[in-house]
Subunit: 409 residues, 2 copies
């Protein structure tokens, strides 16, 4: 049997990192490449070194520590990120990295060697909250994003450029990425499904495809009292119909289709003025790429039809188009089996959110482990997960790595 | 026959006043009780004095000039306002006041006397753009609003109090309001109906009742990818349904029912976050008070039902409730007849917007004359009306005043 991890020690590390960039009363702000991110990185590197790992940093600031194996093959990598959104919690990203440290410390304590090296990685700017796009570090690591372009990205608030900020905080490295033998990422679910169903472990089968579309409707502004309905070209009501259609598409397709209208703005935005323009965004996700394409096609055709009917113009902008990612079926089977071996309840499920793991799926066998999020909350200072669930996830990670890396009894 | 007014002179006065607070390229900003408003008032008072009128100012800053009659009865009053919204046009309000001056100058030029005195009035803060509520001066004049309360009103931007601003610009007077024998107001339609139907004169039958209601829906914020539709409490979609229902109510009731959703806000307002709260306003108007009450009752019941169905809470705030105002039927008949006598096309119609005239309806026989607005635009620097239409309206005003005040041949 694999050694037992120390759940209290895991929690202590989560709390310690959680004090860096902490808000009073809970939550953290460790936006990528800020002073808080640097402080988190410094602490992480010190922990890796304390655990005897060889620390590597590449040109985009990804950090990975390697615990040597008895053989010289490719490492089994576990990883995630330690940057946060502006009002983030303690577990999103940090769990996957710090469970890696806990895993290494457990192996060290027991003197357990592995055939393959083990790598624990923290990728730069997974959140994309300060610099777009998200999953920037893992994207560059895996070759999906261009390193030069990413180094030149300016912050969304205009304050800072990736390359300059890496230099400023001292994390522009020169190590070459290594292709892992396998990649595993432990993460909080950031959704309500496991909690609702009373299941401890999600064996993640892949990442939903994501289509973000922005609709800008232009009609005519008019006085709300003096303009009869028949003479209006109300951009707002056209936009409402598009929003309702997005909801109808989700209902029609059924799970796992989701549709979200998160941004909706009217201009001029006055009580007694018929809106001249309306802008909304629709976030459609599905694990089935073809169904997702059809959903987006149906919505854009609907938008054009209702705008024309109302005498309005609509411009449609593709903000994001990510095809679904499918994880390695054999590795997902192993996650499921490992959970069952520990008598942990487990459910195969897709991820509704993007993760660094999706960048690795094209590079090596990749899978993810989810643990429940209380009330499904994440990207929120109230983000919380049960300590027992966190420990269970870390244990499973260790169990799997011991298998994949060939642990010696 | 009544003397003919001078359309060019009327237009010259509109242009002259329009230079006070003018934007480059068109439009004016003469917000109530600002320096620009004071400059407009100073010019108006000088014009009245030049025309030999006795100028009166009351405690809320309403200005009225009186051209003496041969008898001593109550004056026939024409009036409107010279304040504007922040981005206003040259005609909204100004037309009704300056047509009054043109009328007096025409009578002076022809040496035409009237039995009753004639009053030309400009009421303080009709727009309500800087100080709420609108129609403040005429409301105080007619006793519908409390003078002390109105003097204590603070500007919507926090900069200034009505009484102090009146002192500052020198327009807190002490004259007592006089109850007119009749009140007539010439105004641009501010809507598209006359233009669309090719009619020159609107004989305004009354003012639509107005119900403004604010709905604030509270649900639960969630991640747009990780939260299945069935587990959401999406405040935004509930709000969209309320907005669509408002539109359905207008369609169901038919004209003159109008419904406008002018404000619609989501929070947190991010592409990939299910909205936690949504706020919208619905502006419902109808000339039939009972139908309007029923429309509002239907909408609020709908809002409560759909919010409950979606697991959301909704709070409903009455922002404004104005009952419809019915003008004097006999006087409206006179407007219509006077237009027909001049071979002007005329249409009886309600006003969709509020006007000073509605305050007088309870005090004395009251009516309004509308002339077409190009493209129905108002509260807009592009506000425009055809000079011939403006002159036609002013002529009609003079014709009616000559009748009502008893002009001597």
């Amino acid at each position: 049997m694999t050694p037992e991890i120390d759940g209290v020690r895991l929690l202590r590390r989560l709390t310690t990192l959680g004090q860096i960039g902490a808000f009073e009363g809970g939550g953290v702000c460790r936006l990528a490449l800020t002073d808080a991110d640097k402080a988190g990185r410094d602490w992480l590197v010190a922990e890796m070194e304390r655990l005897g790992m060889a620390v590597h940093i590449d040109a985009i600031g990804n950090i990975w520590g390697i615990r040597a194996g008895q053989g010289a093959g490719a490492p089994v990598m576990v990883g995630s990120h330690i940057d946060s959104v502006a009002t983030g919690g303690l577990y999103d990203g940090a769990l996957g990295v710090l469970a890696g440290l806990e895993m290494v410390e457990t192996l060290n304590d027991r003197g357990t060697a592995t055939e393959a090296p083990i790598a624990v990685a923290a990728f730069t700017n997974e959140e994309g909250a300060r610099f777009a796009p998200d999953m920037m570090g893992s994207g560059v690591y895996c070759g999906a994003l261009d390193q030069g372009e990413m180094l030149a990205v300016t912050a969304t608030d205009g304050m800072g450029v990736v390359g300059e900020e890496l230099d400023r905080i001292g994390y522009r490295g020169s190590d070459a990425p290594v292709i892992p033998a396998a990649y595993l990422e432990l993460h909080i679910e950031q959704g309500p499904v496991l909690e609702q169903e009373g299941v401890r472990i999600g064996a993640v089968t892949g990442v939903q495809g994501i289509h973000w579309t922005e609709f800008t409707v232009t009609g005519q502004t008019n006085h709300a009292g003096t303009t009869p309905m028949a003479l209006r070209r109300d951009a707002g009501q056209v936009a409402m119909r598009i929003a309702r259609e997005a909801d109808a598409i989700a209902a029609g397709n059924g799970p796992p289709q989701v549709a979200t209208v998160g941004v909706f703005e009217l201009s001029p935005g006055l009580v007694n003025v018929v809106p001249e323009t309306a802008r909304l965004t629709v976030d459609l996700r599905n694990t089935d790429g073809a169904v997702l394409e059809a959903a987006t096609a149906r919505l854009t055709a609907f938008a054009q039809a209702v705008a024309a009917e109302a005498g309005c113009a609509v411009s449609i902008r593709e903000m994001a188009r990510f095809a679904p990612v499918v994880f390695d079926g054999g590795l997902v089977d192993k996650v499921e089996a490992a959970a069952q071996a520990r008598q942990m309840s487990v459910k195969r499920m897709p991820s509704g959110a993007g993760h660094d793991a999706q960048m690795f799926a094209a590079l090596c066998p990749t899978a993810m482990i989810f643990v429940p999020s209380e009330n499904g909350l994440s990207h929120n200072i109230k983000e919380h997960s049960d300590p027992d669930d966190l420990a269970a996830g870390a244990q499973l990670l260790l169990d799997l790595v011991c298998t994949l890396a060939g642990a010696r009894a």
